[in-house]
Symmetry: C2
Amino acid sequence: MLSNDKLGAERENFLLPLPVSYLNAFEAITRDPNQELTIVEQEQEIVATFQLTFIPYLTYQGSTRAQIEAVRVKSDYRGQGLGTEIFQYAIQRSKDKGAHLLQLTTDKKRPEAKKFYESLGFVDSHEGMKLYL
Amino acid sequence: MLSNDKLGAERENFLLPLPVSYLNAFEAITRDPNQELTIVEQEQEIVATFQLTFIPYLTYQGSTRAQIEAVRVKSDYRGQGLGTEIFQYAIQRSKDKGAHLLQLTTDKKRPEAKKFYESLGFVDSHEGMKLYL
């Protein structure tokens, strides 16, 4: 799913066996209690995935922010409300973890994604800036 | 420093004793090996602070992203290159931790901050979207 996407196709490698870097990242995510990588199954098929990260900050009088990244829905399962269900879950889960804010960055090359997030109540108040190292 | 800022003034509470929520957040940051809260001192005075977070992801073939947030420089120490030094450190530290990307979000109400980040090579490729819970 990560590679079946106009941006992901350029940066992933899904040949089997998978590069060991994926396995190392999976272990790092699993080890860290502030990372939650979720897989959505329908009738024993993996149809979506997303990652929630909880980050403690001193700002806002000492708080936790939730961040959602790497949201992917299998192409033939889009347009069926699955994305909305994922975000309903993510919002509730973030509240349960005491987060006051759920944040994400979305590539400006995906205007349809931005519209979807706006429909959920997200506001594009910030610039999402990246520096490749 | 967090409150001495046009946005921070509205959302922080710096009366002494500090609300316990700050102390709880400080302990949560200290406990988490993926969080690095740094304080910059000059002649025994705290002049700046910032927080680096390292997040493992499956995307980009399994990778680590570095994220910098809550960058504050004491007002009478601005314009002296301290921000640039902080980012030189943050970039090197992120490379040392194996991150392929350093990311941040900056409030669109701070256009001068965006220009500063652009001067360091950051690209505003993403929208930074927030949902208050």
